[in-house]
Amino acid sequence: MAIKIPPIPEINLLWLNAGLSCDGDSVSLTNATLPSVEEIVLGSIPGLPKVNVYWPLVAYEVGDEFLQAFFKAERGEMEPFVLVVEGSIPNEKIKKEGYWTSFGNDPGTGEPITVNDWLDRLSPKALAIIAAGTCATYGGIHAMYGNPTGAMGVPDYLGWNWKSKAGLPVICVPGCPVQPDNMAETLLHLLLFAAGKAGPPPLDEMLRPKWLFDATVHEGCDRAGYYEEGNFAKEYGSQKCLVKIGCWGPVVKCNVPKRGWMDGIGGCPNVGGICMACTMPGFPDKYMPFMDEPPGSTLSTTLVTGYGRFIRTLRSSTIHTGDKEPKWRHKGEQLTTGYIPEAY
């Protein structure tokens, strides 16, 4: 049943970038155009609540002055607020002392406040939590086998059944980094929900926005035609399908080849980069070594090769025909178009 909430006139957006991250998801959002950060902040979309942004990457304020918003949120003075989490959450319980990552100092003790601590303090009060990027959603690179920090995603930390004050699970927007407009669009959807104009963003079982992560890379890839014809690249730099040199596109949920990286430009397999499955919960370990042919694709590409070659031959002949103009386009005194004049 769709959740509805009374329209919210003004909302705070608190961005916690101090998980184990590279800040690439913050940087990615500055790259979005649908909408851009200016459009969100300056209120260019009708009906949205006024958005106050507390985002370390662009904040005017510094240090304690900046942190006040977070301390206030903890005291319940910032509601309603959306918490954006960037970076994976380390396991702070596996060591005796110190911290893996922190965000500001506790005014009482002077000790650094860990990111885990911030999540414990703020998550009960948040209207919604968005996990931005694969680190925050599922652990990502920093949660790779052999990592010393015990890194995990926000749902791993808060629990997969966790619900926000508005009854929403953690909204997971994976991508390493997150595709700029995927992030901006999800945020916009959430703001429309806060405005009482839309339902909550529909999510799949891994808490991804359904409309963005329903299809596979392959289904949106403009090189899929090469696959169909069994025409595979053996070298990087080729414009053919890359599955035999490391592309995981057929089994990865992501819309990047269809959407491009920004405003339709760039991407992954569509522009010559193998899909390394950076949106997937199993990333990176289940896809390494990245440059090897995915084990499953040996069988599927072998099967498609016979059919594909046959189809390619047929098409090649049709292309050859279509590549020639009809014979009636010529100079000279004769008209051979088949036109039958009444009179000249």
Binding site: N105, Y236, G273
Partner: protein
């Protein structure tokens, strides 16, 4: 933080009062940084400064045992604003290990991608992050007197950039509603489109591989880039004069401002943008191809070029534990005893360094950071080189070597001349970056705007090269290779904010050791084992305070300008003491007067 986090200083014992203030986290940078200082308000000077980083992720730890070909995909994730510099550096490092040479077209594509990264990243930092420190709102709050003066000071280069007074420039830098601020964001996107044409995705590229990129070298790739590049060139013709006016004004309005963020000239640049066709990635030829790079490597001490030889630069690298949360690795012994041409390699060299994390309480008498202290050993001293945020070191090193001459960009021995061709709106323009008198906050920021133009110049040259190669039918971008069982290798480049090296040791076909050393550890490191402060610490210490506010509503703007001039790129915060007496008093940075819309 507690009052006694800091070791007592001589001045303090002598009864001088220092007040502690705290900024954590520092915003408008990438990542987590902490700097703790003591300020003497009577003398209007920072007395002492400590820099700390509050994050550990463990790349060198979890990369052990992985397939070496995964290295660039993984290390790109070190940085979310210049990840592609890591990916490129790793590709260079892998190329050396695998003995593969990128085809010329591949190298040109990477140079176009990396040039776009410089154009984008410096642009967003200059106009949207550091620019705010110079905007009307900030100057009014910190130096109302300076704002009054700025409103009435005519901008000498108004004809070039269109703003009549310095005050108008400051207004245009106001966050979100200033014109330059907004244009800055827009150009940061257009340059990222250029980047994506070459490297697929920003910030973690999809098309980079050892052996060369997988990008299709067709005419559209280059013309789509060129059209956008010329729009950026027109923007640069306004931007560079605008920043010259703004920065010159600070020297005029606040005599002595040259000492803000000033430190001894100790600059490192590892060179960037390999010469297509000249770079074979072999260690034994590294001296030669290093000098062919389109940004010349070099170590500059007290204004003199110490070396521009990448082999010498490599051998002098040392990683000191300093006051960081790691255990030492010396007892584990050396992995590499000699470099590929037989030179001895030190136990503290990156090839032998290892990260053994030891999380512990922060203690300014003991260990206080997750950053180790890289140094360059000149045979006698462990030099705490900085990168000055990248551009100042690159321009200085390139200017002194005088090796770069590609038409659009020419190094003269004491300057760099950049010639931007006529565009849709403005005529040809020549810009000259001259070696400055100081390595300080203003000159680091000024060099940034010039380097944006420099990168555009190299990109114009690379587009010419790409068209030549297309005409010759040389469209191959990638060369095949085999991963050897054993190898040692190094990649050198310039990340946007300065030196970047990747060192790798391969054993049994797997990564035995992988050591990425990006610019920020060079700049943000804590005191090393010899007690030598890191560059932020050094540059902030003794910075004079020009802010008109007293301790009660002090914003620390001069310190922020000093720190941000290095273009910090790691999770950080700044804490400081301010004072005059025996009591050390804790003062939070003042609350925001208003929230940014």
């Amino acid at each position: 933080m507690s009052v006694r986090d800091f070791p007592a200083t001589e001045e303090e014992r002598g009864g001088r009062q220092l007040i502690e203030m705290a900024w954590d986290p520092i915003t408008r940078i990438v990542g987590n940084l902490g700097i703790y200082t003591k300020i003497d308000f009577k003398q209007k000077q920072v007395a002492e400064c400590y820099s700390t980083s509050s994050i550990f992720r463990g790349y060198s730890v979890f990369m052990r045992g992985k397939d070496p070909r995964d290295a660039h995909f993984i290390t790109s994730r070190i940085c979310g604003i210049c990840g592609d510099n890591h990916a490129s550096c790793s590709v260079y490092c892998q190329n050396m290990a695998y003995g593969v040479e990128t085809p010329p077209m591949g190298e040109v594509i990477m140079n176009l991608g990396e040039s776009a990264e410089y154009m984008f990243d410096h642009n967003i930092f200059q106009e949207n992050l550091v620019g705010v420190d110079f905007c009307e709102k900030m100057v009014r709050e910190t130096n109302p007197g300076v704002w009054e003066k700025a409103k009435n000071t005519a901008a000498p280069r108004a004809e070039q950039h269109g703003y009549r007074t310095i005050g108008e420039i400051m207004t245009a830098l106001n966050p979100f509603d200033g014109e330059i601020y907004k244009l800055g964001l827009q150009y940061s996107r257009m340059t990222r489109e250029m980047f994506c044409l070459m490297e697929g995705r920003h910030v973690h590229p999809s098309t980079l591989y050892p052996g060369g990129p997988g990008t299709n070298a067709n005419p559209q790739t280059f013309t789509d880039y060129l059209v956008r590049l010329m729009r950026y060139v027109e923007w640069m013709k306004r931007c560079v004069p605008l920043h010259d006016d703004l920065f010159d004004f600070f020297y005029d309005a606040l005599p002595g401002y040259e000492h803000v963020g000033e430190r001894r000239v100790l600059l490192g640049c590892w060179g960037a943008l390999n010469h297509e066709g000249e770079c074979d990635f072999q260690y034994r030829h590294m001296t030669t191809w290093g000098r062919k790079m389109y940004v010349t490597p070099g170590i500059v001490v007290d204004g003199k070029l110490v070396t521009n030889d990448l082999v010498q630069i490599n051998l002098g690298l040392r990683i000191l534990l300093g006051h960081s949360y790691y255990k030492d690795w010396e007892e584990q012994g050396k992995l590499v005893d000699r470099d590929p041409i037989g030179n001895p390699v030190d136990i503290r060299h990156p090839w032998n360094a290892r990260q053994i994390p030891a999380p512990q309480k922060r203690n300014f008498d003991g260990n206080y950071s997750w950053v180790m202290s890289p140094r360059w050993f000149d045979g006698q001293n462990y030099l705490a080189l900085d990168t000055g945020g990248g551009p100042i070191a690159r321009l200085w090193s390139t200017a002194l070597s005088g090796l770069v001459d590609v038409g659009y960009v020419k190094a003269t021995g004491n300057s760099v001349v950049i010639t931007l061709p006529k565009g849709a709106t403005l005529p040809e323009m020549q810009l000259e970056w001259k070696i400055p008198k100081w390595s300080n906050a203003i000159e680091r920021d000024r060099a940034r705007t010039y380097f944006q133009a420099y990168a555009a110049g190299i990109a114009l040259y690379s587009i010419d090269k790409s068209l030549e190669l297309l005409a010759k039918g040389e469209t191959k971008t990638w060369e095949s290779f085999k991963v050897p069982k054993e190898a040692i290798s190094v990649g050198f480049t310039e990340a946007v904010r300065g030196v970047l090296s990747h060192h790798m040791v391969i054993r049994d076909g797997k990564i035995e050791n992988y050591q990425p050393w990006p610019p920020t550890p060079w700049n943000a490191n804590p005191r090393d084992s010899f007690g030598t402060p890191g560059p932020y610490e050094d540059a902030v210490q003794n910075t004079p305070i020009f802010e008109e506010n007293g301790p009660e509503n002090f914003k620390g703007i001069d310190i922020m300008r000093a720190v941000r001039s290095f273009d910090p790129c790691l999770p950080c915060g700044v804490h400081m003491y301010v004072g005059g007496g025996r009591t050390i008093e804790r003062i939070h940075t003042p609350f925001a007067a208003e929230v940014v819309p």
